[in-house]
Amino acid sequence: MGLTAQSTWLGALKNEIAFEKFGTDSIIVALVGNPNTGKSTVFNSLTGLKQHTGNWPGKTVTCAEGFYEHKGEEISLVDLPGTYSLLPNSVEEEVARDFICFAKPQCCVVVTDATCLERNLNLVLQVLEITDRAVVCVNLIDEAKRKKIHIDLKKLSHILGVPVVGTNAREQEGLDRLKDEINNISLGKIKASPLKVKYDETIERAIKVIEESLYPLLKGELDSRWAALRLIEEDKRIIDMVNNADNLLSKELLKAALKEAKGILETRYACTDEIRDAIATAIVLKAEEISRATVRFENTHYNELDRKIDDILTSKLFGIPIMLALLGFVFWLTISGANYLSEILAESFFYVEDFLTDLFLYFGVPEWIYGAVVLGVYRTVAWVVSVMLPPMAIFFPLFTLLEDLGYLPRVAFNLDNFFKKAHTHGKQALTMCMGFGCNAAGVVSCRIIDSPRERLIATITNNFVPCNGRFPTLIALSTLFIAGSFGAFQTVIATIAVMVAIVFAVLITLMVSKILSQTILKGLPSTFTLELPPYRKPQFGRILVRSLLDRTIFVLARAALVAAPAGLIIWLMTNTYIDNISILGWCAKFFEPFGRIMGLDGYILLAFFLGLPANEIVIPIIIMSYTASNSLMELETLASLRQLLLANGWTWVTAVCTMIFSLNHFPCGTTLLTIYKETQSIKWTVASFLIPTVTGILLCIVFRLLVSLLGI
């Protein structure tokens, strides 16, 4: 990071990490914690709906900020990314650490999981090394009670030297006390004297030597003991900071001190790695010691039930079949429920359209404006919303439910080996599942993958799994052209065809991921550590709110944003004539030869391009072009659709090629926009456009050639 150009290094760092929207008057409180500790539940329970999310400047790590008032104090709560440690192994950890170190929150709340306190204490101890202003929140205290785990909170608070509050954030228990303690620490009413981990005598001596000359340099802006420790383990970022410091005299002193410290350390340690080990080990052992003193397990088999569930859900025999059945059930619910809801929505949208028509007529608005606004923009947006909203409103809550239960990490566990062979991360399985709902949401979910290389692969390839917008195309075409002649078994055959398409999509994803891993995104899989957290009772109310707000509305808003201008363009293209042929017709003529090579025709190919705003409108555009009617429409029955397509030269080969291209072509506008936002890179956005498109073109050509060679 470009710190060198800055004259005042602490100021520079502060700017670098400053979150754009911080309130100036309110007290800033940071929320840290391990993943899976219910940290976001604590956050939501404290702030309610008064929150907004944003990205860290230049980073793809999200952070949410929320507000609440307690006893006259306005608190701004910043939810930092979930991390296991503050020794920066990943972007998330770096963000969390930088915030605590340099943004100087008035209080730092460490959320821990009462059911596995020991592991969580590791992070607590690291936070206490940086700041005195901390409150420890022992969450999920009810789960611990249920598992007969007893925690002596008073003793814990005594040992740690900071306030400790037991909470059950889901039921709002203990939150008032937590808010009290946050106020106490933030306003300086309580002076905490937190426990600092003691290291072995050699390291302690080295710390002392460095601290002495480091202290004046830091001007109280940073804990000198902590900074000294980082210098001992040769943390690049802290070294850079010191190098850029402006107090030259102390710098010279510090250099001498560092040399002396190095001499001390060399008497015991052969290399920096050994020192790092010693530091990490000391913290882990301290956490173990504290846990032993404060936690009592009445029932040593407290996680027996979780194990039994895992025995089934991740068993060799049933693990994968159960997973497929569950996902299949989710899809079935989504597809069948969405059909019903879409119909209702479409009807109400057309009702509004009639109203708009009357309104435009009443005011005598010129016809072309009416056409562009109502038939173009409104109708396209209405179409996109009525087709996209219902499946998302069903799929996302179901998906969040599985997430809340703790099932999703098990999916990653079951499937990881396939991803390992493709040199990617097992969590990609989860981002793909999400992609079945919506690729834009799938791309956002790639944040759960730590390693940047693997995250990028998951982002680029997410589009290979068909989203809800493409399922209707797949279902309609396979019903018409593949299952059409099977009569009674039509639905079964169509379902099988769609399942084959899904399996095919997964295989393509794995293959492309592997190719990427061996070419432009070369690298070996990064460390894979996947926590399998205890199963938890999901919270239905919160699931609905969270999935509707976070995912559905988010995706929908972006979709509508892209659909509106596209609707206008499509309308203009069909209604502007040159030599008696609409622009749409001319474009289709241009695409005709390319379409033919791929087993398609000009109109189909053009429809895919015009369908950039949303995949849902691809089939409607094809229909529209064939019937030469001037705005989006849907034919009454599937039989009449079949007649129309056959009349325009479709065969089963055309249908299969259209399905192949539907599975493998550029992501929709919303997804592309999301990819750009997530990667902050035009290069990778273009790659995400080209890679699936080229794959699709090649597959279509190969398929068409195979068919004509075999003479089927």
């Binding site: 296991y84 440690s85 020794l87 192994n89 059911t115 596995c116 306190l117 020991e118 592991r119 590791n122 790695d273 790092r276 080990d277 990490a280 080990t281 882990v284 052992l285 956490a287 173990e288 996680n303 979780d306 194990r307 895992d310 025995d311 991740t314 068993s315 060799k316 025999l317 693990g319 994968i320 566990f413 079951n414 499937l415 990881d416 080996n417 396939f418 390992k420 097992g426 899989p525 460390t527 894979f528 550590t529 996947l530 926590e531 399998l532 957290p533």
Partner: protein
């Protein structure tokens, strides 16, 4: 009695081991230690994934899945 030392990857399912040393380097080593895999930590091999890898291990009250690459860099005394 001298106990047998094996890599965690070779630890049979259902058995426990006590960490003797890590042979991983750099970030991987750091990440494993952060999770609590330091010397003398007792680790139990819980189960293999249906696809053969990774394996789920229980230590310090949590269940963590590790791929064979990571697990073969951790050496344990079989308990």
């Amino acid at each position: 009695m001298e106990r047998e030392v094996v890599s965690l990857y070779k630890l049979p399912i259902g058995k426990s081991g006590r960490v003797k040393m890590l042979t991983a380097n750099g970030n991987i080593r750091r990440r494993l230690m952060d999770l609590g895999l330091v010397e003398n930590t007792v680790v139990e091999a819980l189960r293999k994934s249906p696809s053969g890898d990774p394996t789920a291990y229980q230590f310090r009250g949590t269940v963590i899945a590790l791929r064979s690459e990571e697990a073969s860099n951790i050496f344990v005394h079989v308990c």
